[in-house]
């Protein structure tokens, strides 16, 4: 054990991130994250359905203003998140290692996470140009179709990936003007919480991203059934889970997006169609005449 003369380090408390603040779970429950030897790394908040409910309220409140922010501003903010993450590489690399990743793989994952944020930052003011259309209708009307964010999106982040998987789903969702509530990996929750701190330092308005930690099994039904959530993204490959989610989502005709890939650290894991997944198409007509 350490000698009295050595400095005692301060252990970090891992909270959740709702509406731009860091509360503990209202339920007071926790579970422990242990290292390979069984020692406790941290007490992780076991979020409740009420935490989820509060997150959805925050996300809904924030959504209109976020959607109305210019595409340029949203791009700037995503770029800023990348800047902040780059500045904290070491923290994330060490958290990944704590959770069982090798140092090499951890560096790669952090690099990929930062670059992915920049990738989507670059799409903010372009996806509209690629996916919209002016439609040559046969009547004397100007007719145009544009994308609009669907609203509040619930995200069940990949369980295997502590950081990259979460970012790969949050970034394309919010760059398109949606707000979201994301459930972190249950097995590797640390980076999600630290990522919330990065978001907080990046001019991301409160409520745009909300991050919960907890037991996937007990929270899935709430993520899937909430009547004020417009879309749900899930990353779990199991058929049983998929069916449960789809059944519950049907109640308010939620858009259901399955992203079940195993490896998020490849180039094909990013593209603008992930933005389009949470967009609606709005078509407007106006006469052309005097």
């Amino acid at each position: 054990m350490a000698i009295a003369a050595e400095r005692v380090p301060v252990a970090k408390t891992y909270k959740i991130y709702i509406d731009g603040k860091f509360p503990r779970t209202e339920s007071g429950r926790y579970f422990t994250l242990n290292d390979k030897k069984g020692a406790v790394i941290a007490n992780i908040c076991r979020s409740s359905r009420k935490d989820f409910r509060n997150s959805v309220v925050a996300a809904r409140d924030a959504q209109l203003a976020w959607a109305q922010a210019s595409a340029y501003l949203r791009g700037q903010i995503l770029y800023r998140i990348a800047e902040m993450l780059e500045g904290r590489r070491e923290q994330f690399v060490s958290e990944l290692q704590l959770q069982g990743t090798t140092q090499n793989a951890a560096q790669k994952e952090v690099d990929a996470s930062i670059d992915r944020l920049i990738y989507y930052a670059g799409w903010a003011d372009k996806y509209q140009q690629v996916f919209s259309a002016v439609n040559p209708v046969s009547s004397s009307h100007f007719n145009f179709s544009v994308l609009e964010p669907t609203g509040v999106v619930a995200i069940l982040a990949p369980d295997d990936s502590s950081l990259l998987g979460l970012i790969s789903n949050v970034a394309p969702t919010i760059v398109g003007g949606n707000t979201c509530v994301a459930l972190a990996s249950e097995r590797r929750p640390l980076c999600a919480v630290s990522f919330a701190e990065v978001l907080h330092a990046s001019d991301v308005p409160a409520g745009v991203v909300n991050i919960l930690t907890g037991y996937r099994e007990e929270l899935t039904e709430h993520f899937a059934s909430h009547m004020d959530v417009n879309a749900i993204i899930y990353c779990d490959g199991s058929k049983k889970v998929a069916k449960t989610i789809e059944l519950l989502a049907a109640e308010n005709i939620k858009r259901v997006v399955a992203r079940t890939r195993k490896d998020w650290n490849v180039e094909t894991a990013q593209d603008p169609y992930l933005i389009r997944d949470t967009q609606e198409v709005k078509t407007t007509w106006h006469p052309v005449g005097s």
């Binding site: 340029y72 003011d125 690629v130 052309v288 005097s290």
Partner: protein, 490 residues
């Protein structure tokens, strides 16, 4: 509407005290060399020319005069960088370099703005609020395209062209440099750029920013000089793509010089845009739009709304309100934050404008200017309107490139369209009406590359800009702006 005897009184009364932008924080050298191969190198000729502050007529700095040998050096450096680091780099990494440039421009925004106004004469309010933010935004926008080009051109595998030779004008020096450099780099090309001889300084500061951003040497080269330097760049056999913004006269020369070569080129030339105000327009906002259209940047704008076409039933009201508004425009020191209209860029340009004022009056036009005070030194022109002119007048046909508006009336929509299109130019146009259907009908009929409805002189990196007819071809900005810098052959 009746115009009473006792008009509104804008002269005298409460005046704004001088509100000078401080320049003691800016870093400006007394001499600038050429930026070639990642370094500042002295010109082969050993010659330098002065760049002058048009508000004070004082020399600000000496700038290198590049000759053919210098241009050759620059093109070779660009080719070397293209073959070497730049074309081998992953597209996403290329994008990150461009993001860095954008960031540095934001961090040094105030310095850039002050130097832009010092060197070119435009009001600091415009440099600060419009030019510099837009320039940085252009780099931000195109940085994001670098690794996404396949989405912009369905069905094609795109490739860069190689070395781009770019020549830009003096009216929006830093912004024009951004419009040229950002898309070229995003598409994987390297660049040799020449700023205008009366406004080289922000380009040199941009060179410093690019160096600080760590771009591989030779990716961007900036060489200063006058017409001959530009000609050397444009005709250099080592340049695959030429981009020019400037007068139609020079554009024609360039097009001739490039005939028979394999070079791809785009031209952004002059204009004589019609700003059309219908009786059912929001009149006060239309007047503001007219003012922004012709007096913004002293009228040194290719897409300026330099012809007002106003529906006859509201002409008196519009002209009266325009005159009222002109009386509140402040002409003066570009570095004063309250200045609306700065200095004319050079004595040559002032002479040209003044000759048109003469011509307009001789042709029988009625000239009206605001009565604001002018400083003693420097090159100045008061905001001016001509009424009693028609399509046959030279001041209505020819591009003056100053704060001079030619006003005509029209009666019907078809007449407005006919007058608007009755010009060899086709860069831009404005439409003011509260009726949506009419807007779309007009946008269908007006032959111009940019049409502003119920607004004017609005620019955005996502929005394509360029002309029809003798205003040039090719588009800058937006997805369409990538076209010019890529090989799209199937």
């Amino acid at each position: 509407m009746a115009i009473p005897e006792n008009k509104l009184a804008f002269e005298g009364g409460w005046q704004y005290s001088p509100a000078p932008e401080s320049i003691d924080h800016i870093n400006l050298k007394t001499k600038y060399d050429l930026y070639i191969g990642g370094e500042f190198v002295a010109p082969e000729s050993g010659r330098y020319f002065d760049t002058v502050n048009p508000a004070t007529e004082e020399c600000i700095a000496k700038v290198a005069d590049a000759n053919e040998a210098d241009v050759d050096k620059a093109v070779k450096a660009a080719r070397k960088a293209y073959n070497g680091a730049w074309s081998k780099m992953k597209a996403a990494e290329r994008g990150k370099y461009i993001f860095r440039i954008a960031r540095i421009m934001q961090e040094r925004a105030r310095e850039f703005a002050a130097i832009e106004s010092l060197d070119g004469g435009k009001p600091i309010r415009e440099s600060r609020d419009i030019d510099i933010p837009l320039a940085a935004a252009h780099f931000f926008y195109y940085a994001g395209w670098a690794d996404k080009l396949e989405y912009a051109f369905p069905g094609r595998k795109v490739k860069p062209l190689g070395v781009a030779g770019q020549v830009i004008p003096w009216n929006f020096p830093l912004l024009m440099a951004s419009w040229k450099i950002a898309p070229a780099l995003a598409c994987g090309n390297t660049v040799v750029l020449k700023p205008a001889e009366t406004t080289p300084l922000t380009a040199m500061k941009l060179a410093e920013a690019i160096a600080d951003a760590g771009l591989p040497p030779g990716v961007v080269n900036i060489v200063t000089g006058a017409g001959q330097t530009g000609a050397a760049i444009v005709t250099h056999p080592g340049v695959q793509k030429v981009a020019f913004t400037g007068s139609t006269k020079v554009g024609r020369i360039i097009q001739k010089a490039l005939a028979g070569t394999n070079k791809k080129y785009t031209l952004e030339l002059g204009g004589k845009a019609a700003n059309i105000v219908f009786a059912d327009a929001a009149i006060d906002q239309a007047v503001e739009g007219i003012v922004n259209g012709i007096f913004f940047n002293q009228g040194h704008v290719c897409c300026a709304g330099s012809r007002l076409l106003v529906q006859e039933s509201v002409a008196d009201e519009v002209v009266q309100k325009l005159k009222d508004r002109m009386d509140t425009l402040i002409v003066g020191d570009p570095l004063d934050k309250n200045t609306d209209i700065g200095a004319i860029n050079s004595p040559m340009q002032l002479e040209k404008i003044e000759s048109y004022l003469e011509i307009g009056q001789q042709e029988g036009g009625v000239m009206h200017q605001s009565s604001c005070a002018l400083p003693d030194k420097g090159y100045w022109c008061r905001p001016t309107i001509f009424t009693g002119v028609s399509q046959s007048n030279r001041v209505v046909q020819e591009e003056i490139f100053g704060p001079v508006l030619a006003i005509q009336t029209f009666r019907t929509l078809d007449e407005a369209v006919s007058k608007a299109n009755n010009t060899p130019y086709g860069l831009s146009g404005g439409i003011w009406t509260d009726k949506g259907a009419k807007i779309f009908k007009m946008t269908q009929k007006i032959r111009a590359g940019v049409i502003w409805a119920n607004t004017f002189n609005k620019f955005d990196p996502t929005s394509p800009f360029g002309g029809y007819k003798e205003s040039g071809f090719g588009r800058e900005g937006g997805l369409h702006g990538l076209d010019a810098y890529l090989n799209l052959e199937a």
